[in-house]
């Protein structure tokens, strides 16, 4: 079935299962793929990549460590240490591949699931967990790693990325900006407005859409009648669909899009075609709306396994290297576990901190009242 005929189908009635077989598969000509699910290199007429063995091993290590700490975070939620976790399981290649295409002076605007991107930017994993534990709303300094805070309102950050990119262009800098969002966000007005603004101002921004097929319980068919990457055409900039489980293709295509931005050629939409292997968050129950066979089909396209196969086939790593990485993963998980458990609750009076940069009389008054109220318990017990 072609993409076009898929798009022309009448929307399914709600409640009906959408099988993976109706989705465009890797045989689609639009899908950029450089590494097959079987771990074999694939030629593409427009996109190529040459990486050293060290770089290949680096990508593999990034994906393995990200998956390990993601799994640890899910466990920590189950143990009651986190209130919530949004797992990236299955999306490691999309995130690591795109993030490793970035330069230090590029700027990232993530959703709340970009743990792999954060890892590549040098944001410590434990910093990501603060907001999911409920001790802050984002504990890292965005300017330290050019990695903005996680944005929870769907799609809002695409406009921030566009504005930031407009500023980059005004400054005459050759940096680029990348905005992460998902298939669900593609329905948001803010994303449409971000496409419009970036196009008319020719802003140096890459819109990196991880189409993981599900917006909580709603399949992509509920968001769009056309493949998402085709939306770019209507705004006047290129859109590309890449195999989101192929770290090499994600890296190559994102590099290409970033270079376009740096050269002053404006925005690009990259649709990374991938799959959310886990639940939307730890509060979600995917058994209510999707079947195991769909997940199993995507399991066969696992992003880490295919690079593992390549590394072995090309002889870049031996068993000892893989074993050492396993140990490093466990050490990372242990460090994350211990630092999360040691994270103190914030001082309640900190509720009043940083609401205004220039200070505020109402906040000062309420802080004083609250402090006095709290102190009344300590003083005498009456």
């Amino acid at each position: 079935m072609t993409v076009e005929s898929t798009a022309a189908r009448k929307p399914r009635r709600s409640g009906k299962r959408v099988s993976a077989a109706t989705k465009p598969q890797s045989s689609e000509p639009q899908l950029v793929q450089l590494l097959s699910p079987e771990g074999e290199r694939v030629e593409h007429p427009d996109h190529r990549i040459e990486l050293t063995p060290e770089e290949l091993l680096g990508l593999y290590r990034d994906m393995v460590l990200t998956r390990r700490f993601d799994a640890e975070a899910t466990s920590l939620q189950r143990q009651g240490e986190l209130g919530l976790w949004a797992s990236l399981l299955g999306q490691e290649a999309a995130q690591i591949g795109s993030a490793r295409a970035l330069r230090d002076d590029d700027y990232v605007f993530p959703t709340y699931r970009e743990h792999g991107v954060a890892w590549c930017r040098g944001v410590d994993p434990t910093n990501l967990l603060g907001m999911f534990r409920g001790v802050n709303h984002g504990g890292w300094d965005p300017s330290a790693n050019n990695f903005h805070l996680y944005t929870i309102v769907i799609g809002s950050q695409t406009l921030h990325a566009t504005g930031y990119a407009m500023g980059v262009a005004k400054d005459g800098a050759d940096a680029a900006v990348i905005a992460y969002f998902g298939d669900g966000a593609s329905s948001q007005g803010d994303v449409a407005e971000a496409f419009t603004f970036s196009a008319v101002y020719n802003a140096p921004v890459v819109f990196f859409c991880q189409n993981n097929q599900w917006a909580i319980s709603e399949p992509t068919e509920r968001q769009s009648r056309v493949p998402l990457y085709q939306r770019a055409q209507g705004y006047g900039f290129p859109g590309v669909r890449v195999d989101g489980n192929d770290v090499l293709a994600c890296l190559a295509v994102t590099r290409w899009a970033l270079e376009r931005a740096r050269r002053g050629e404006g925005p690009t939409l990259v649709e990374a075609f991938t799959y959310r292997m886990g639940a939307h968050t730890t509060s979600d129950d995917p058994t209510k709306y999707r079947h195991d066979d769909e997940r199993a089909a995507w399991e066969a396209k696992d992003p880490i396994q295919r690079l593992h196969t390549l590394l072995q086939r090309e002889g870049h790593a031996d068993e000892a290297w893989f074993a050492a990485l396993e140990e490093e993963s466990d050490a990372l998980a242990k460090r994350v576990r211990e630092s999360v458990r040691a994270m103190p609750d914030p001082d309640p009076v900190s509720i009043f901190d940083n609401i205004y940069a220039d200070g505020n009389s109402l906040v000062d008054e309420e802080r004083a009242q609250f402090t006095a109220y709290q102190a009344s318990f300590a003083e005498g017990g009456n």
């Binding site: 504005g163 930031y164 500023g167 940069a357």
Partner: protein, 326 residues
């Protein structure tokens, strides 16, 4: 001499010009703000003098205007954005409330967003639907935003300067039916604090508190009351968030009576907040309950009946009489 008599809109224009001259990071953004100079001409001539790169005509998308302004502020710019009319701010309400207001707190103080959102507001100009509203309470309710409104040309000039210099987002409500009113502006004066109230007229029997377009009405009401031997004090609040409760309290504790006046609906309006706070602070000084005069719990009406909806001189005087009769 730096004292000139200017219409309020021209004072805003001069203030924006000064801001653009003083700081290369200041940008003007909005619909029709360039060649046209804005539908009220507040940005008239600025694009010609500062270029399209600094006075930016935007696509017709309010969420996009505020959302990209946030991104520009993250890059170190100080955008002053114009929303064309009060009733058109709501597409941007999400960006203002969920993003602009909260970014400083959620970044634990690491991010500052010096964005000014200018909104012409209020009725009285015979406009069609969505062009006459007073939504200030919807913004004052949100922590992280500062909400102000000038009532005269001097405040228009200086409060906008201070809003641009603020490291916090400021929602700047401009009383559109006063755009053409002329009053003196001293561009070399030393302005008072942005959020301090100002006593416009002193009195001993009752305090009228208002802001924006209603200050003029209250001054007229005080003059009319004086003819009947009643001494009414008028306070221009100037800021709806934060509110200078100290100034209102000090006045009420001398006069014993308070009437709050605004165009916005009374229900959940800033008058309700002021009444509650002043009742708490000055209970034993009050000779009468705090009264409110404002809009009704009704959509802003068609222009032919807006004079009945808007709190005019007689409705303010009626409340003054009711308060004094207690």
């Amino acid at each position: 001499m730096a004292v000139t008599k200017l219409p309020l809109a021209k004072a805003l224009n001069e203030s924006l010009r000064k801001a653009l001259e003083d700081d290369p990071k200041v940008l003007i953004m909005g619909e029709d703000v360039g060649k046209l100079g804005g539908v009220f001409r507040v940005t008239d001539g600025l694009q010609k003098d500062f270029g399209e790169d600094r006075v930016i005509d935007t696509p017709l998308a309010e969420s996009g205007i505020v959302g990209t302004a946030i991104g520009l502020a993250l890059r170190g710019y100080r955008p002053v954005v114009e929303i064309q009319f009060d009733g058109f701010v709501f597409p941007a309400y999400d960006q203002i409330v969920t993003q602009l207001a909260k970014m400083h707190a959620r970044s634990l103080g690491k991010i500052k967003l010096p964005v000014v959102v200018r909104i012409p507001y209020g009725g009285g100009i015979g406009a069609v639907e969505h062009h006459s509203e007073s939504p200030e309470a919807l913004f004052a309710h949100v922590a992280g935003l500062k909400v102000v409104s000038p009532s005269n040309s001097s405040d228009a000039y200086w409060m906008l300067q201070q809003a641009v210099h603020s490291d916090d987002p400021v929602i700047f409500f401009e009383p559109k039916r006063r755009y053409w009113d002329k009053s003196e502006v001293d561009t070399e004066a030393i302005p008072g604090p942005l959020h301090a109230a100002r006593t416009v007229r002193e009195g001993t029997d009752l305090t009228l508190a208002a802001y924006g377009p209603m200050v003029k009405v209250c001054v007229e009401a005080a003059a009319a009351a004086a003819e009947e031997g009643k001494s009414v004090e008028v306070i221009d609040l100037r800021s709806m968030s934060p509110i200078d409760f100290d100034a209102v309290q000090a006045s009420v504790e001398r006069t014993g009576r308070l009437v709050v006046v605004h165009e916005a609906p009374v229900f959940y309006g800033s008058g309700a907040e002021i009444a509650a706070r002043i009742t708490e602070r000055s209970f034993y000084h009050l000779e009468a309950p705090v009264l409110r005069v404002g809009g009704f719990h009704a959509p802003y009406p068609p222009a032919r009946v807006e004079e009945e909806y808007l709190p005019g001189l007689d409705r303010v005087l009626d409340a003054v009489d009711r308060s004094l009769a207690y």
